[in-house]
């Protein structure tokens, strides 16, 4: 399933919020070329895991390695600089900035980047995501689906090695959902690595090459989608048993 070098690894990750254990000794590794579906019932700890793996939350136990480097205590922009990009469960765009400006910011954070080169690259990705006609609109004026696409585009401007997408299909029109799936597939074929969290099982099963299932803060299954979906523990977790 994993066919490349290891990009991100979480070892024994523990994250507590008060008395609630959101992540309970979770091991999670992402290798180059992976297209991982991360699923689980509500409150199973998926988003917390992404937050920890991308530097947005510090783990209470365990640690995160990016390309073999220990990352404890480092801020999110260091992760981004090392090629770890993410989207958010609730789309977090810079709403009063234009679509193009949203794309320029991550591009311009890269070392040795120049405005003309970043602008060209931003327009290329906007073309790929069918957002070219709205590049001068403020991001808040986009539809929900377009906002998801823009958030994906913003990640791509980092030229990341791995993208964590948190619920990219939530609240998206089926036609736009197909666009997002197509974009992810094309980008994956182009060499990008993805971890996709969503509740849309059909889309996740269609997309992913590897499926990880979480329940009650723990990783309960990890393997090929066809095998994992028949796993009794997984079925029990989803049935609430």
């Amino acid at each position: 399933m994993s066919h490349g070098a290891e990009l991100v690894r979480g070892v024994g990750l523990v994250k507590r919020f008060g008395g609630i254990i959101a992540n309970d000794a979770v091991d999670f590794a992402v290798a180059e070329g992976d297209l991982i579906g991360l699923i689980g019932p509500n409150g199973s700890g998926k988003t917390t895991l992404i937050n920890v793996l991308t530097g947005h939350l510090d783990p209470d136990g365990g640690g995160v390695l990016v390309r073999g480097q220990k990352m404890s205590g480092r801020p999110p922009h260091i992760y981004a600089g090392m090629g770890v990009a993410r989207t958010f469960q609730l789309t977090q765009l810079w709403s009063r900035m234009t679509v193009l400006e949203n794309m320029l910011v991550p591009g311009l954070t890269r070392p040795h980047s120049t405005w003309p080169e970043v602008t060209r690259r931003a327009r290329r990705y906007l073309e790929l995501l069918n957002l070219s006609p709205v590049e001068q609109l403020q991001a808040k004026n986009l539809s929900g689906g377009q906002q998801k696409l823009l958030e994906l585009g913003r990640c791509l401007m980092l030229e990341p090695a791995v993208l964590f997408l948190d619920e990219p299909f939530a609240g998206v029109h089926p036609r736009l959902r197909e666009e997002i799936i197509t974009a992810i597939r094309e980008l994956h074929q182009g060499g990008r690595t993805f971890v996709v969290v969503d509740h849309d099982m059909e889309s996740i099963f269609r997309l992913s090459r590897r499926l990880v299932v979480m329940a009650r803060g723990r990783k309960i299954a990890d393997g090929e989608p066809a095998v994992v979906r028949m796993d009794q523990t997984v079925l029990a977790a989803y049935a609430g048993l």
Partner: protein
């Protein structure tokens, strides 16, 4: 004609400089003080409008800059420009410190924290009268020993122009884009590779430095520094100026400073009632023109000379080559 607004602005500046000597002493003083507030309002706009850091300690930095310069000139006998430069450096350093301490604060928490800082500065300056002369006021060296205020007018004008130029270059650079991204959503900015903490500290340091510059000029113009320069009334006035003008653009913030200062003088015959009048204007601005009363005026002005179809705003929504950079 493209850039018509730039030519018009340039012409207005030239006219103002050429005919400045026709202002009587009173209105010349009002203009100089308006430019002092212009530097403060634009630098506060940089912090609150561009980065979203609603600090209520900005006039405290003007006070620190003024006292630092005045005291160094008095004690060490250094030149006034050097004293003002030292004031800027001290304000930048203190601003960076405040920015660092406030890293995880925003909104009302940041406002209250910086208000506390401002009060500490004011009370310290008031009570340490061995050093600062307290409420009696510290006599300062003036920049010029001239019978007219005209040299001060030109210096204030130059300081405002240089400040606006430097801040304008900043907000139009990639750093300006990062600062706006931080204002819109810090988490997303961090996830996009923006060093949020570094840029927040930098914004505090730069804005405080400009406040220190304004304070230094004020100290060596008025000839006396009192703790009231940095008090809450002054801060409230600065907020009113910036909000009424439009806090998300440097020129509108400066315009707000000019308009409020001028109107306050024109309403002087109404005594204290002029302040409630401004309160009402502020309320109406917040209700009906959140971007400031001058923002639509400014946007109309910068679009002068653009093709009519573009001015309607429809064409601007379509892709335009090289428009972002």
């Amino acid at each position: 004609m493209r850039r018509l607004h730039v030519y018009l602005l340039f012409a207005a500046v030239v006219l103002a400089l050429v005919y400045a000597d026709r202002l009587n002493a009173y209105w010349m003083h009002v203009a100089i003080i308006a430019m002092y507030y212009g530097i403060l309002a634009s630098s506060w706009s940089l912090l609150a409008g561009y980065v979203g850091l609603f600090s209520l300690g900005h006039t405290a930095f003007a006070s620190i800059g003024g006292y630092t310069s005045a005291l160094l000139v008095k004690w060490l006998g250094i030149s006034i420009p050097l004293g003002m430069a030292a004031g800027i450096v001290v304000c930048c350093a203190l601003g960076a410190g405040i920015g660092w301490v406030c890293l995880r604060m925003s909104g009302p928490y940041l406002a209250i924290f910086t208000l506390g800082f401002s009060e500490i500065v004011r009370i310290t300056l008031s009570t340490e009268d061995d050093v600062t002369a307290g409420m009696a006021g510290l006599r300062t060296e003036t920049l010029f020993h001239s019978a007219t205020r005209l040299p001060y007018f030109y210096v204030a004008f130059a300081l405002l122009a240089v400040s606006l130029l430097l801040m304008g270059l900043l907000v139009r650079s990639r750093w300006g884009l990062f600062l706006r991204a931080i204002r819109e959503d810090e988490r997303a900015a961090g996830a996009s590779g923006v060093a949020v903490a570094r840029f927040r500290i930098l914004a505090f340091a730069i804005a405080s430095g400009f406040a220190g510059l304004a304070g230094g000029f004020y100290a060596h113009y008025i000839g006396i520094m009192t703790p009231s320069v940095g008090d809450l009334d002054e801060m409230a006035k600065l907020v009113v100026m910036t909000v009424i003008g439009g806090m998300e653009r440097l020129p509108t913030a400066v315009g707000g400073a000019f308009v409020v200062e001028a109107v306050l003088e024109l309403l002087r015959e109404y005594g204290q009632w002029r302040l409630p009048i401004f309160g009402i204007v502020l309320l109406l601005t917040m209700r009906f023109a959140r971007n400031g009363l001058l923002t639509p005026v400014w946007l109309g002005f910068v679009r002068l000379g653009e093709p009519r179809v573009e001015r309607r705003g429809t064409v601007r929504d379509l892709p335009q080559k090289d428009s972002a950079a």
